[in-house]
C-alpha cells in the first residue's frame, strides 16, 4: 500500500494536497449545531438524484405518446422501478426541504456576510438551477399536471415586453407543450442542468473552503490560531465532521425511508394525484397548483392582480434573495448577538414564507370557510390575506436595510472565541 501511494503521488502530486485541503486539513469551527447538517444532506440528496436519475433514464421514453406509459412501466413492471422512482421523487422534495433550511441557517447566522458573499451568490445560483431542474423533472412524466404546469410556467415568459410570445413559442418549440417541449426538457433535465449544478456545487464548496465556514457565533475562527497555524476553535473536517454528518445522515435517511415506503405522495404534496392522469391539452385540472416547494413564489404571482406585475413580483422575490449580503449592512453576523428587531423580523419572514406556501398550495379556501362560514367571499378574503403577506415578504428586506444602514440595530457584544456548551 505504501509503495502504491508513493507511486501514485509521484505521478499526481496535486491530488493528495487537494484531499488534505478539503478534508483532513480543512478546519471547521468546533461549535456547529444541528442547523449545520443541511449542507451535507443536500450533497447526499444530489448524489441520490443523480444515481436514481441515471437508472430512471434507462426505462423512460421522452415522447408525448410514450412518456406517461413508460413511467407506469417503471412503477409496475421494472424490477424495483417503484423504489428507484420514489427515491427520485422523494429526493426532489427533500432537496428543497434541506436547501430551504440551509438558506434559513445562512440568514440566522449571517453566513452570507463578508467575506462569504460569493458563497451566498453561488448558493443562490444553485437554488435557481435547482428550481429549473425540479420544474423540468416534474414535466417529464407527462401527466395532466405536468402538462398544465409546463404550460403555465412557460407562459409566464409572455409577460416579457415586445417578444414575450415569440419567447414562449421558442421555449415550447410548438404552439402548446408537446413532443419538442418534452424532448428538450428531458435533455436539459438529465444532461445540461445536472452538469451546471455539479459545477456550481464545486464552486460553492471551493469558495467556502477559501474563506472558511461561519458558525453559530458568527465569529471568524481564523483570528485565533495556535502554534501549529491552525485555528484554535477549529477541528479537521475529516474525521470529526464526516462522522458527525454520518450520524445525522442516519436520522435523515430514516425519515426519507419512512416517506418512500409508507407515504411517497405525502398526501398529494410530494406527488400530486392529478398527475396520475395522462396529459390532456383540452382539460385543465380542477385546481392547478405547483408542487409545494414552489408554492410560496406561486402565491406571490397569484396575489398580484396584473399579469406583468405578478411575474415581475415573482422574479423580484427571488432576485431580492441574491441581494441579501448588500441589503443587510449589520456587522454582527449571528442572530445570537443581533438586535431584537432582527430576530422578530426573521421569525415573521419565516412564518410569512410558510403561509404564502399555504396559499400557493390552495389550503386557504378551506381555512376561510372554517373561520368565516360557508358563505364567505373566499376570493376577497384570500386576496386581502395574501396581499398582506406579499407586502410583508418584501418588507423584511426593506426593513433589514433600513435597520442596519441607518444604525438602528443595537447589538450585544460578540465573544472573542466560540462558545461551547460543555
Amino acid at each position: 500500500m505504501g509503495a502504491f501511494t508513493e507511486w501514485f503521488n509521484e505521478r499526481a502530486p496535486g491530488l493528495g494536497a487537494v484531499y488534505k485541503k478539503h478534508m483532513t486539513e480543512y478546519y471547521a469551527p468546533k461549535n456547529f449545531n444541528v442547523m449545520y447538517y443541511f449542507g451535507s444532506f443536500a450533497l447526499l440528496v444530489l448524489v441520490n438524484q443523480i444515481v436514481t436519475g441515471i437508472f430512471l433514464t434507462m426505462f423512460y421514453t421522452p415522447t408525448a405518446a410514450g412518456a406517461f406509459d413508460s413511467v407506469q412501466y417503471i412503477m409496475r413492471d421494472v424490477n424495483w422501478g417503484w423504489l428507484v422512482r420514489y427515491m427520485h421523487t422523494t429526493g426532489a422534495s427533500m432537496f428543497f426541504i434541506v436547501v430551504y433550511l440551509h438558506m434559513f441557517r445562512g440568514l440566522m447566522y449571517g453566513s452570507f456576510k463578508k467575506p462569504r458573499e460569493l458563497v451566498w451568490l453561488l448558493g443562490m445560483l444553485i437554488f435557481l438551477v435547482l428550481m429549473a431542474e425540479a420544474f423540468m423533472g416534474y414535466v417529464l412524466p407527462w401527466g395532466n399536471m405536468s402538462f398544465w404546469g409546463a404550460k403555465v410556467i412557460i407562459t409566464l415568459f409572455s409577460a416579457v415586453p415586445w417578444f414575450g410570445h415569440t419567447l414562449v413559442t421558442w421555449i415550447m418549440g410548438t404552439f402548446v407543450p408537446g413532443d419538442p417541449t418534452l424532448n428538450r426538457f428531458f435533455a436539459l433535465h438529465v444532461v445540461a442542468l445536472p452538469l451546471v449544478l455539479l459545477m456550481l456545487v464545486v464552486l460553492h464548496l471551493g469558495a467556502l473552503h477559501e474563506v472558511g465556514s461561519n458558525n453559530p457565533d458568527g465569529i471568524e475562527i481564523k483570528q485565533h490560531k495556535g502554534h501549529d497555524g491552525h485555528p484554535l476553535d477549529g477541528i479537521p473536517f475529516h474525521p470529526y465532521y464526516t462522522l458527525k454528518d454520518l450520524a445525522g445522515v442516519g436520522v435523515f435517511l430514516i425519515i426519507c425511508a419512512v416517506i418512500i415506503f409508507f407515504a411517497p405522495s405525502v398526501g398529494g404534496f410530494f406527488l400530486e394525484h392529478d398527475n396520475s392522469i395522462p396529459a390532456n391539452d383540452l382539460v385543465t385540472p380542477a385546481t392547478i397548483k405547483p408542487v409545494w416547494y414552489f408554492s410560496p413564489f406561486y402565491a406571490i404571482l397569484r396575489m398580484i392582480p396584473s399579469k406583468g406585475l405578478g411575474v415581475l413580483a415573482l422574479a423580484a422575490s427571488i432576485v431580492v434573495l441574491f441581494l441579501v449580503p448588500w441589503l443587510d449592512r449589520g456587522r454582527v453576523k449571528s442572530i445570537r448577538y443581533r438586535g431584537l428587531a432582527y430576530k422578530i423580523a426573521l421569525a415573521i419572514f419565516a412564518i410569512v414564507f410558510f403561509l404564502l406556501g399555504c396559499i400557493g398550495a390552495d389550503l386557504t379556501p378551506g381555512w376561510i370557510v372554517g373561520i368565516f362560514g360557508p358563505n364567505a367571499d373566499i376570493t376577497t378574503i384570500e386576496n386581502l390575506f395574501g396581499r398582506i403577506l406579499v407586502i410583508l415578504y418584501f418588507a423584511f428586506f426593506a426593513f433589514v436595510w433600513v435597520y442596519t444602514f441607518f444604525g438602528f440595530e443595537r447589538t450585544k457584544p460578540v465573544p472573542e472565541r466560540v462558545i461551547t456548551h460543555a
Binding site: G178, A286, L301, P305
Partner: protein
C-alpha cells in the same frame, strides 16, 4: 536579436480584434443552435382549419373542439345570457374589446358573427389554462353576483358570457376569438375568415 521592447498598443489591438472576431464567430455559431428550438416544419404544418357541425348544440350548451391543439369553445347562448352582456360593462376591464384579440367582424357587443353563437379559444389570457364554463346564474364562491360566464380554476380569473374579462382578476385581456365563418346554418369552419372579411 530582435527588438525586445513590447509594443503595447499593437498587443492591445491584436487582443481586442481577436476577441471581437472570435466573439462574433461564437454568436454566429450559436444562432443555429438557438433556432433549433423554434417550431419545426412539422409543428408549423400541424395547424390547418377544421369544420365542425354545430347543429346539435342545445341552447345554453357549450361544446369543445380542438384546433391547433387549442381548445375551441362553441356556445349556443340563450336570450337571457345575451341580455346580461351589456349590463356587465361597468364590471369589465375591456368591455369594448379594444385591447383584446378578435377578428374585426367579431369586435361587437357579443363578440361573435351571430349573436347567439359564441366561438372562442378557451384559453385564459393570464397563463394559458382552460377556464370552466359556469352557466348557472347566482352567487358563487368566487363572485356573489355571478351572471354566468367562464371561471379559470388556476388563478381565479373570471369572464362574462362573451369571454370578456372582469376587472380585478389576474387575466389582462378578454379571451381570444379565432377567425371562423359559417359554411351553412349548422357548420362553421374555424381558422378561415368569412369571404370578404380581412
Amino acid at each position: 536579436m530582435a527588438d525586445d521592447s513590447i509594443n503595447k498598443g499593437r498587443r492591445r489591438f491584436l487582443t481586442a480584434s481577436t476577441a471581437a472576431i472570435g466573439g462574433a464567430g461564437l454568436i454566429i455559431t450559436a444562432i443555429p443552435f438557438v433556432e433549433t428550438w423554434l417550431p419545426s416544419a412539422r409543428a408549423e404544418a400541424a395547424g390547418s382549419p377544421i369544420t365542425v357541425d354545430i347543429g346539435k348544440i342545445e341552447k345554453g350548451q357549450m361544446v369543445r373542439y380542438g384546433w391547433r391543439k387549442q381548445p375551441i369553445f362553441v356556445i349556443n347562448r340563450t336570450p337571457e345570457q345575451l341580455q346580461w352582456l351589456p349590463k356587465q360593462d361597468p364590471r369589465l376591464r375591456d368591455p369594448q374589446s379594444d385591447a383584446s384579440q378578435q377578428p374585426e367582424y367579431c369586435k361587437n357587443g357579443h363578440r361573435s358573427i351571430k349573436p347567439e353563437w359564441m366561438v372562442l379559444i378557451g384559453i385564459c389570457t393570464h397563463l394559458g389554462c382552460v377556464p370552466d364554463y359556469k352557466k348557472k346564474v347566482g352567487p358563487e364562491p368566487f363572485d356573489p353576483d355571478w351572471k354566468g360566464g367562464f371561471y379559470c380554476p388556476c388563478h381565479h380569473s373570471r369572464y362574462d358570457m362573451a369571454a370578456r374579462v372582469y376587472d380585478g382578476v389576474p387575466a389582462p385581456l378578454n379571451m381570444v376569438v379565432p377567425p371562423y365563418h359559417f359554411v351553412d346554418d349548422t357548420h362553421i369552419q374555424i381558422g378561415v375568415d368569412p369571404k370578404g372579411a380581412a
